[in-house]
Symmetry: D2
Subunit: 174 residues, 4 copies
């Protein structure tokens, strides 16, 4: 049985407000036995990784995977259990999305926007924090185009995000 | 001296209003001796390719290049001079942008949005039609994030688009 | 601390002689707490995954990761803990290699050859079974080009392969 | 009608013996109205580009395209008509092959070997110079695996290479 994964995407710059949410989501997801996937670098990626890896008695299925743009594992943040260098630059954004069962956006600029667009195009459920600045706020509650019946799900708190994620996994029959 | 290129991005579905603009831009760019780059498929990509290839006494530097998602040249529309299959799926959107000196958006859904995000992240000038529905309209005149001083340039007609494109090429000292 | 990984590459067709070695190597590596990376499909990839996942009281650090060519996790064999669809086709061979600390070849045709070439170009230690047919035999003991001082290390048994792999990890100061 | 393309692959280091052949092949192919595709850098890639672009009264269909590993057109050699930065590193080797109707190898180390392996896997005709050192010599006349009925075609002179290439294009009904 494949392990459940949630991709956490957002700003690579260090923004305390976003990092706080990302770290808390990392902790909550890891405590629930869910592996997190990120782009493996800093900012929201680093904070989510730190949160997940900090969980006491972390379940076996709660690992931290970083899908890196460059060719070296050293490029990854220090909290990764698995650093996966791709060597394909930001085209790796496609892989961050494809490796995730659900994509969770926390703020974000152009890189995050490309990931939300890919997630939509590849039919991945997208959950987006609307109580912060960035593309997760701008797109939360909206459709990216008319090819899907659903919308990007907007959430305003970490608890709400976990409820939504748990509901989606129930629907996916994992 | 490398030949000037403009990437034309937009809906892959056939939308007459968008196709009309794309075809006209293909004609105008080709007449000006500029090569067009597209994702090589249908809709805006096909219309732009058709327009460019239809120019009478087409200048030598006005070719039509399609950067395809799959592994076969057969996947490209019939107007391509060069079909470049990448085999990397929609990750090829990164290459459409990187191969273009300027990116021109005509409408567009999630795929186009990913290309506009990449164009922004890779510091490419982005010109967007604001008189049509889709992401070219939503993002025209706006910034995608704060990492650039400029904005996506919105235009409302083919003539205006050509003036903007010519101005940018003058600035690029081509 | 990042978890140790060994990439296992070889024929995607089912060849009993190769599968037997791959499955045994999967078992031995997993028992030693090493995560295996493969292309996620069948043949040597499937057998290695089966072997690793079959280990009784498998150590926490002995997971099975498949780096898939397509866009769906369903494409992966049933023994994967983590299916990572890349959507970039056989260009994913680069990632299989980059995600691995050491690359181990068991037979193999053109796909395996591309992976051995990438592993060499990216300075990864390559261990190759010489007691079977295929590119692992042809290249074992040889250099691919003059850019490296070392050679591909040839081995003739699973026990020898484990000794070599353990020695390399000792040198890498993991 | 799509323009005929031949991919020229080989050492990126400057080896006079190889460069001489590559430059001559660039000249001959361009004179015959065939576009050449390379990895866009130096060595065999640069020499082939130089040869093709040096042809007097070059036919309109004889352009020089470089498929670059990085994100900048500046990375390409000075003889390219079209520089196509991919941003996917050496994974771009897959695209060099897919964009070519026929692949022609002149010497070569690990990078060239990965391209020959991809060309074989993607069913591209491969022509290889056997009168020079490198992988074109080692694989000329051989099969890479049993999945194809044909072999890599070995040639010993530029004239022979042109005859073989013309024959293949006749068979492809271009």
């Amino acid at each position: 049985m494949k392990i459940k994964t949630v991709g956490i995407i957002g700003d690579s710059l260090e923004k305390p407000e976003l990092n706080k949410i990302a770290e808390e989501m990392g902790r909550k997801l890891a405590s629930a036995g869910i592996t997190i996937i990120t782009g493996g670098r800093e900012g929201v990626m680093g904070a989510a990784s730190r949160g997940a890896s900090s969980v006491n008695k972390r379940p076996e299925t709660a690992r931290v995977i970083g899908i890196l743009p460059g060719i070296s594992k050293e490029e990854g943040n220090q909290h990764l259990d698995y650093a996966i260098p791709t060597g394909i630059g930001w085209a790796r954004n496609q892989i961050v999305v494809l490796a995730s069962d659900i994509v969770l956006a926390v703020g974000g600029g152009a890189g995050t926007l490309s990931e939300m667009a890919y997630a939509w195009a590849y039919n991945k459920p997208v959950v987006a924090f609307s109580n912060v600045e960035g593309w997760s706020n701008k797109l939360g509650g909206h459709k990216i185009d008319d090819k899907r019946a659903d919308s990007i799900i907007k959430v305003n708190s970490e608890d709400e995000a976990m409820r939504v994620i748990n509901d989606i996994f129930s629907d996916l029959h994992h």
